[in-house]
Amino acid sequence: MKVSLTWLNNYVSLKGIKPEELSQAITLRSQEVEDLSPLVDIEEGVTIGEVTGCRPHEEAEKLSVCTVDTGEKKRTIVCGADNVAEGQKVVVALPGAVLAGGMEIRETTIRGVHSEGMICSLSELGIDEKYHQEEGIHVLDPAAPIGSDALEYLAFNDTVLELDLTPNRADLLSMHGVAYEVAAIFGRNLSIPDPELITSEQANTVEIETQTEGCQSYYGRVLEEATIGPSPRWMQARLIAAGIRPINNIVDVTNYVMLETGQPLHAFDYDALRSDRIVVRDAREGESFVTLDEEARTLKAGDVLITDGERPIALGGVMGGLDTEVTSSTRSILLEAATFDPARIRRTSSRLDLKSESSMRFERGVDPQKTRYALDRAAALIAIYASAAVRDGVQNVDRHARGPRDVTLSLNTLNKVLGSNYEAPAVRDVFNRLRFPYDEEDEVFTVHVPSRRQDVNTYQDLIEEVGRLMDYNALPDTLPTTLSIGGLSSRQKLRRHLRRTLSGLGLFETMTYSLRDVSRIDDLTLENGKPVELSKPLSREHHALVRTPLHGMVDVAAYNRARKQESIHLFEIGKQYTSEAERERLGLLMSGPYHHHRWRPTPPTDFFTLKGVIEALRQALNLPRFHYEAITLENYHPHQTARIYCKGKSIGHIGKLHPEYVEPQGLEDVYVAELDIESLEALQQEDYTYAPVSPYPGVRRDIALLVDDDVPAEALKDSLASVMPDRLQSSHVFDVYTGEKIEAGKKSIAIRLTLADPEGTLRSEDVDALIAEGVEALSREHGAQQR
C-alpha cells in the first residue's frame, strides 16, 4: 500500500511529525515501511509558463524556438517536442533546477539559439510512463497561473510511504485504515467525514437479486447525465501516488474511493445493460465471458458472475466486462459496491491469473460497514467531478451479520502472555487510541471490535494490539523457566561424528539440491524405483527428488575440475527420497591426488584410497568388520565395484565410475561410495569392549601362495581365521603379483600373519603346526599352493 502523506493528513494531522519519524513509528508498531520517497524528486525551480510564441528552429527541423512567459520574464526556450504550440500553459524547468534522475537544467545554446530552461514532459518530472500515455510535453489547463510552482499546481508536492502489508491487515489497504492506525500510534485525533450526497427526484429502479452465497452484499446506485472527462488534478496525483493510472473521472473516482475506504467499486455503463436488473449468480462450468482487458475467459462453477439478467456483465470482485465498460460516450452509470466470499475471489483470480487491486482487497476481506459508505462517497464525487445527477435511493441485498464482535481479555492474561507488567490505564489508553469500544470489569476488558478490524477475533489478537502499541521492545529479556535436559539423539550424534571424521580425513562436505532432472535420477544407485516428482516442476533440472547424494556430488566434482581443482574429495549427508520414506545416505567421492605430496611422488588415488577412508570411518564409528563383494552396476566400472556388507547386511556400495559416464562431464578416475546411515546407526556398538593387552609377544610368519586369479584375498584370510580363531591376531596381504613367471589365470599372493597365544608364548613348533594347518585349509578350500 502506497500512502500519500498529503492525503493521510486530511484524516489525521501529521503536524510536527517528520516523515522519517512517521516511517520509523509505523515500522516499530504496525507494519514494515518499505520505502519513503517524494512523489516527484524535484526540489525547486519548476514553474508554470505560457508559450507566447513558437517558431521552427532555423537549423534543426525537429526543434522549436519558443518564447515562454514564466511571470518574472519572457524566456527563449528551445523545445524538441512535437506537441508544443503557442498559447499552451506548460511546465518549465528553470536553469538550476535538478530534475528527477539528476538532470540539471542550465542555460545553454542549442544550434545557435540561446535557451533559458526546459519545457517538461510528465516523464521528465519523474512520473512513470505507466501512469500517463502522453507523448511530448505536458500541457496544463488554460487556467494554470503563470509563474506559480508547477509541482504544487499538479499536486505532485507529496511524499509517499510504501507499506509492506501482511495479509491479515486488510484494513490497511485503505487510507481510512492507515489513518486509524497512525492516529492510534501517535494518539491523535481522527476525522473521517461522511459523504455529502444530493440526490435527484428520479428514483433508482434497479432490481438486485443475488442467487449465490459467493456474493455477500450488493449495493447499487444510478447516476445520470454524467460528463466523462479527466478527473481533478489532485485526484490524479493521489492515484499516481498510490500506484494507479488515472483514466477518466468515473473510473478514477471508483479507484479513489477504493483507496480511501478499501471497498472496491465498479461502474457500469447503465445504458449498456439489457434490463433494469442485476442478478448475481454462480458461473456455469465452461461459460465464456470477455473481461474489459478484451480476453475471453472460460469460467468455472465457483466463479461469481454479475449479470444484467440476460448476460454476464462482470466477473464478480475480479474484473468488469468489456460490453458494459464506461467509455467517453457513457452518460448513465450503475455504480456497484459489493462484497464477495474471499476464498472464491482468491480461487478465481489465482486460476485466471487476474490479480487486481480489487481482487486483492476482496481476498483479504473488506469491511462490510464501508460498502454503503463507499457507494455514497463515490456517487457524491461523481456528482461533483462528472456533473452527474444521482438518482434517489440505494438498491441492495446484504447478508452480512451486524453487530460488533466481542473479545475478552484480562489484564492478567495479557501480562502472563507478554511477560510484562502493564497496568490497566495503559491498556485502556491503547484501546482508546485504537478507537476500540470496550467495557471493563475487574481488569477484564470486553472489547467490541469494530468491523474494520476483521483480523481481531481472539484475545491473542488483542494482546498483539496492546503489545505492539506499547512497543515489543519495552518487554524484558528473560529466558524460559521450563526445566529440561537438552541433548542430541544417536542419529544426530552419528551425523556429527561422520562430519568430524570425514573432514578430519581431508574430505569436504557438500550440500547440493534435492531436486534434479528426473531422467538421471537412478544413474548411480543400487536400487531403482519410482521417482518422487513435482506436479509442477520448477524446471527440467529441478524436477524430481534425488535418490542419492552422489548425483549432486558428481556435479560438484565436474564443476571443480573445470576450475582446475586437482584434489576433489567430497562427502555429503543426503537422502534417498522415495514415495514411502526418506532414508539418509552418506555419499563419498574421491578423485585426484589424496594427501598430495606435490614435489615428490604421491601414490595414485584409486579404489583402495576410498576403501581406506571407509575403513577409517568404520573404525572411528566403532563398527564391526565390513565385507566387500564385487558386483556390477550400471554406470560403474565393471571390475572395480563392490557391495559393502556388515554383519551380513548390505549397507552400501563403492566403485569407480564408468569412464563413459564421467568423461562427458570432464572427469576421469572418479571413485564414489554410498553408505546407508540408518544401517550405520543400527550397527554402532553401544560402547567399547575392553580386553587386556597380552604381555606375550606375537609371532610373525609370512606365507606365499599361488591361487586362481579370481580368488578374493578376503576369502583366503577368512579361511585362515577359521582354522586358528584364537591364535590369529591379524593377517595382511603384503604382496600380490601376476605376470611373468606366474602361469596365466593365477596370481601370487603373500600374507603376513601375526599369531599369538594370550596365555603364553607360542612355541616355534606350535606356530609351524598352525601354519601347516592354515596352508592345508587354503589348499583344500581355494586350491592354493604354497610357493
Binding site: P167, T482, E509, T512, L538
Partner: protein, 362 residues
C-alpha cells in the same frame, strides 16, 4: 749374543732406567701426536694405532726388555709402559671420536633440506558452513535444555499448512509458494510441521522445548538472494508460563551468538498465521553498528528471523489446551545468517560447493 740395539744400550745405563723409559715414551707420544695430526679417517687411524700400540710397535718392543731388568726396577718400568699405552689409547680414541663426529656432521650435511618447501597436503577438509552454523545454534540451545527434533521433507498439506492455521484459500499461502508433489503431498515450506508432529507425539501433557533444523523448499527462481531450497531452524517452547519476554530474551542470545556479544535486537510487529502476536526480529547492523549503511539499507538494522507466540488454534490442533499452555516459536534461515555473518554475496555459493569457497570454512 746379538749386538744390542742402540736403545738397549741406552736403556741399560744403570741407575737411569726409569727416567729413560719415561723420556722415551714421552718422545713416542709426541711422535704419535704428530702422526695423529695427519690422520684423515678411520683407516689411517687403524694404521696409526697398529704403529704405536700394535705388537710391532716400539712401546711393545720396549716392554719385552722388562725381563732383563733387575727385580726391583720392574714395577716402575711396567707402570711407565702401561701408563704410556693408556695415554696412547686415549689419544687415539679421542681422534676416533673426532673422526666419527666429523663424518656424522658430513653425513648430516648431506641431509640438508629446504625447510620452506611445501608440506604434503594433509590439510583437513571441512564441514559445510551451513551445517557448522546449524551445529553452533544447536549447541547454544542444547545448553539451554532444548532437544533437537526432525521430520520429513516430503510433507502433507495438513501438517505444512492446515494444522498451522493456514487453511486452503488463505491469503497467507501466497507468502510461501509451494512445490507440490500431488494434491496432498508437498515439499515442506518451513520446518514448522516438525513442531506440530512433536506436540502431537508429546500428547499435550508435557512442556515442549525443541528446535527443528532442516531443509525447506519454496517455488522461487534461484538468484543471488533467492533459493528454491534453503536451510531453516525453528524453535518452539510450550509450557504453562512461556512468555513473549522469554522469546525476546532467547532471541537476543541467538543474535549475540551469531553476530557478536555487542549486538542488540529489535522486534517489529509482523504476521504469521501460526503465531499471534507475531514479530520480525532485526539485529543491529555489524557493519555500521546501527548508524546506517549500505548493508542495512541505511536502517541500522538487519532482519534475521520471524517469531511469535504460538497461535491458540495451532496449540489446539496439536493437542495442547490453550487454557493451560502457551508458547513461543521462531524460525530463522541459516543461509541468510551465514551471508550476513561473512558477507557472502550470493546464496547459490552454498549449493555450488566450489572448493575454493568451502575451503575458507575449514
Amino acid at each position: 749374543m746379538a749386538v744390542p740395539a742402540p736403545d738397549r744400550a741406552f736403556l741399560f745405563e744403570k741407575g737411569r732406567v726409569s727416567m729413560d723409559v719415561n723420556e722415551r715414551i714421552k718422545a713416542l707420544e709426541e711422535k704419535l701426536i704428530e702422526a695423529l695430526k695427519k690422520v684423515e679417517d678411520h683407516n689411517d687411524l687403524q694404521q696409526t694405532k697398529a704403529e704405536f700400540l700394535g705388537k710391532k710397535a716400539e712401546i711393545s718392543q720396549i716392554m719385552k726388555h722388562m725381563k732383563d731388568l733387575p727385580e726391583e726396577e720392574r714395577p716402575a718400568f711396567g707402570k711407565a709402559i702401561n701408563e704410556g699405552k693408556q695415554r696412547f689409547s686415549e689419544l687415539i680414541e679421542r681422534k676416533r671420536e673426532e673422526i666419527r663426529r666429523r663424518e656424522l656432521d658430513q653425513k648430516l650435511k648431506q641431509e640438508r633440506i629446504d625447510v620452506t618447501l611445501d608440506a604434503p597436503d594433509y590439510t583437513p577438509g571441512s564441514v559445510h558452513i551451513i551445517h557448522r552454523i546449524v551445529e553452533e545454534i544447536e549447541d547454544l540451545f542444547i545448553g539451554m535444555g532444548y532437544r533437537i527434533e526432525e521430520g520429513p521433507e516430503i510433507e502433507t498439506d495438513e501438517y505444512n499448512f492446515e494444522r498451522l492455521n493456514i487453511p486452503k484459500d488463505h491469503p497467507a499461502r501466497d507468502m510461501q509458494d509451494t512445490l507440490y508433489i500431488d494434491g496432498e503431498r508437498l515439499l515442506r515450506t518451513h520446518t514448522s510441521p516438525v513442531q506440530v508432529r512433536t506436540m502431537l507425539r508429546y500428547g499435550g501433557g508435557e512442556p515442549v522445548k525443541i528446535i527443528c533444523p532442516g531443509a525447506v523448499y519454496r517455488r522461487d527462481d534461484d538468484d543471488a538472494t533467492h533459493s528454491h531450497q534453503f536451510y531453516q531452524i525453528e524453535g518452539l517452547v510450550v509450557d504453562e508460563h512461556t512468555t513473549m519476554s522469554d522469546l525476546k530474551g532467547t532471541l537476543l542470545r541467538v543474535a549475540r551468538e551469531m553476530f557478536g556479544s555487542d549486538r542488540e535486537i529489535r522486534l517489529r510487529p509482523s504476521y504469521f498465521p501460526f503465531t499471534e502476536p507475531s514479530v520480525e526480529v532485526d539485529v543491529t547492523c555489524a557493519n555500521c553498528d546501527g548508524d546506517g549503511c549500505g548493508v542495512c539499507k541505511q536502517s541500522g538494522y538487519i532482519e534475521i528471523l520471524g517469531a511469535g507466540m504460538v497461535n491458540n488454534a495451532v496449540l489446539r490442533m496439536s493437542g495442547y489446551d490453550p487454557e493451560r499452555y502457551q508458547g513461543f516459536a521462531f524460525g530463522l534461515g541459516i543461509e541468510r545468517i551465514a551471508m550476513l555473518r561473512y558477507g557472502i554475496e550470493d546464496i547459490r555459493h552454498f549449493y555450488v560447493n566450489d572448493l575454493r569457497f568451502n575451503r575458507q570454512f575449514t
